[in-house]
């Protein structure tokens, strides 16, 4: 056991260790191959479809909506307590309604398309011949002598006019235009509404519908319109009939559309007197602000005798707007059958007016609503609007569906005479900014 002295032992151990290491160097080819195969399979399984991978994240699908809901609740709570979170307000008042609107439009379009397809399918079942003809139209193999245009019900058959029929039609048009010439001094509004509609039809008809009015007929219309006598006012620049169209011909025209309300601006003539204007609102008087109330003029006893038609060639800047004024006046003459231009005073009750005031002042120009008065006191802001009932109810309906809607309305009729109402509407606004944003975006 001499070799077990210290130095020898160390050398021996190291030697033995190295030998042991060599002996333990093993090659296990079978296992190596098996593991390589396993790794390859693992690599291949790693290439999963990203959609599948996304769907498999169940925790994300569960937690994300919950987190979103929580955030919305927090934001609402913050807003309720008076804290303004601008990005959230922007999302709520601008993005969300826009998306909603887009969805609604898309849904409506889809429904209409589906309905159309269903109708067509039904029609095809009922009348296979029509379908064949339709497909022929699509293929531009329409026979010249017969053209069918299908509407929902009933089926309208258009045929080209014969020579004789064309002649009769031309004469009729001439005679109508001749009548128009005679009536020119007394001006257009005396034409019955139905007749105006006829003119509108004929003018709208000519350039766009060559299929319906065959060949010469459309040309005849155009030529006749061009050949209007010079005595007619502004006939060279603007056809009289066109003016008639611009003027509101029926009772419906009294109610301007919500999206584009008519701004009434007129030059008071001698016979349209301000004394006849109905009494102004009390709120305006109370505030002592200069009244800029624009009320529709009271109808004169002889509606059209005061209107001067400018001579031919002299373009009158106010001609159309005059007609615009004249039309309500005409309609107001028979008030029983018209809707009155009701007045609504919108009083907005707001807790803290100081922030609102500037904002509203800045943006008030953007509104297209006829604002007759606008003043504010310490606790409320009064905007007096002259809105027709229909527009007011549209406004009310929209406000009711609004997420940032006012807390509640109060309506009080303070004046009611001959169906003309003056109503004070008090709106209590809590979520003020959103409300104004909405008001401005909807009435721009």
């Amino acid at each position: 056991m001499d070799f077990l002295n210290e130095k020898n032992t160390e050398d021996l151990i190291v030697k033995d260790l190295q030998q042991l290491g060599q002996q333990l160097q093993q090659t296990n080819q079978a296992f190596k191959l098996a593991l390589a195969h396993k790794l390859r399979a693992k690599v291949l399984s790693q290439f999963v479809n990203p959609v599948k991978k996304l769907c498999s994240l169940r925790w994300a699908w569960l937690t994300a909506p919950a987190a979103l809901l929580l955030l919305v609740i927090l934001a609402e709570a913050a807003e309720y307590s008076g804290l303004e979170i601008k990005p959230y307000q922007y999302l709520k008042t601008t993005v969300a309604p826009a998306v909603n609107r887009q969805i609604k439009i898309t849904a409506t379009a889809i429904i209409e398309e589906v309905k159309k397809i269903a109708d067509n399918a039904l029609k095809a079942k009922l009348n296979p011949a029509t379908t064949q003809n339709k497909s022929a139209i699509q293929n531009k193999t329409v026979p010249n002598d017969l053209l069918e245009l299908t509407s929902v019900n009933p089926l309208i058959l258009f045929q080209p006019l014969t020579e004789q029929q064309q002649q009769i039609l031309k004469e009729e048009i001439k005679s109508q235009l001749g009548k128009n010439e005679q009536m020119a001094p007394n001006l257009q509004p005396s034409l019955p509404a139905q007749q105006q509609d006829d003119y509108q039809y004929s003018l709208d008809f000519q350039p766009t519908e060559p299929l319906v009015l065959e060949n010469d007929v459309a040309d005849t219309f155009l030529n006749e319109a061009d050949k209007l006598p010079e005595s007619l006012p502004s006939a060279d620049q603007e056809p009289v009939v066109k003016k008639l169209i611009d003027s509101p011909p029926t009772t419906d025209a009294l109610v301007p559309p919500l999206t584009a309300p008519i701004k009434i601006s007129y030059q008071p003539s001698e016979n349209i007197k301000l004394e006849d204007v109905p009494p102004t609102t009390k709120a305006g008087e109370a505030a002592g602000t200069p009244s800029t109330i624009m009320t529709p003029p009271t109808p004169p006893s002889q509606p059209y005798s005061n209107i001067n038609i400018p001579p031919a060639g002299q373009k009158s800047a106010g001609s159309i707007t005059e007609l615009g004024v004249a039309a309500p006046a005409e309609q107001a003459n028979g008030q029983e059958k018209t809707e009155c231009q009701n007045r609504f005073r919108l009083i907005l009750k707001i807790n803290d007016l100081s922030k609102i005031d500037d904002q509203f002042n800045n943006r008030i120009d953007g509104l297209d609503i006829e604002i007759t008065e606008y003043y504010s006191s310490s606790q409320n802001l009064t905007i007096i609007l002259t809105l027709p009932s229909s527009q007011y109810y549209e406004l009310k309906k929209s406000l009711a569906s609004l997420t940032a809607r006012p807390d509640y309305f109060e309506e009080e009729i303070i004046y009611n005479e001959a169906k003309c109402q003056e109503t004070v509407v008090t709106i209590y606004v809590n979520k003020r900014i959103s409300f104004f944003e909405w008001l401005i975006s909807n009435f721009r």
Binding site: L4, I13, L17, Q18, L20, G21, Q23, Q25, N28
Partner: protein
């Protein structure tokens, strides 16, 4: 240095396309398998841990960043961690390893050299049994140094130690081994 550059290139390739991991596997399979075999002394266990090590490496290769540690060192660390966790789970119950290893050594020695004698085989087996009585860290040091022929720097990177510490610890481990081995021989 050239090896490190090659290794780095292979790692980048494997990161881009996991199918290229095969090249790294070819490079490191023998080393990892033999290290684990020496550490645990059981063929089946060594295979299991090797398999687990390479699968883990494949899964996590996109997280691997080439800083101070080479891919080899990273792979050794995974292997050591897997082995440690296996021992922890199985409460260090290794019953048949001695027999298993004795068989392995005897097969190897008889096949390799004709002049191997009974005394040498007995001494080597004794030595291995002595190594197995050391702590896990000491075993790692000795196996990496004398079986795998790693430098101090490489061992330091694998075991997250400084080179000096590796030197000191290895010296102590060897002295301990010598004492135990001497007592056994006596």
């Amino acid at each position: 240095m050239a090896n490190l550059e090659l290794e780095q290139r292979l790692v980048e390739k494997a990161k881009r396309n996991p199918q290229d991991f095969n090249q790294l596997y070819e490079l490191y399979f023998e080393k990892i398998y033999n290290f684990l075999l020496a550490r645990c002394g059981q063929k089946e266990l060594a295979e299991d841990i090797t398999s687990q090590t390479f699968l883990n490496a494949l899964e996590k290769i996109h997280n691997f960043k080439w800083r101070n540690v080479s891919f080899g060192a990273w792979l050794y660390r995974i292997a050591i961690n897997n082995l440690n966790s296996h021992f922890r789970k199985n409460n260090r119950i290794i019953l048949t390893e001695d027999e298993n290893l004795n068989l392995l050594i005897s097969q190897q020695t008889s096949a390799d050299s004709a002049e191997s004698d009974l005394e040498q085989r007995g001494r080597i087996t004794e030595l291995y049994q002595t190594i197995k009585k050391l702590s896990a860290d000491e075993q790692n040091l000795i196996i990496l140094k004398y079986f795998q022929h790693k430098s101090y720097q490489e061992i330091a990177k694998i075991l997250k130690l400084s080179s000096n510490t590796v030197g000191v610890k290895l010296h102590r481990s060897l002295r301990k081994l010598k004492i135990v081995y001497h007592q056994k021989i006596k």
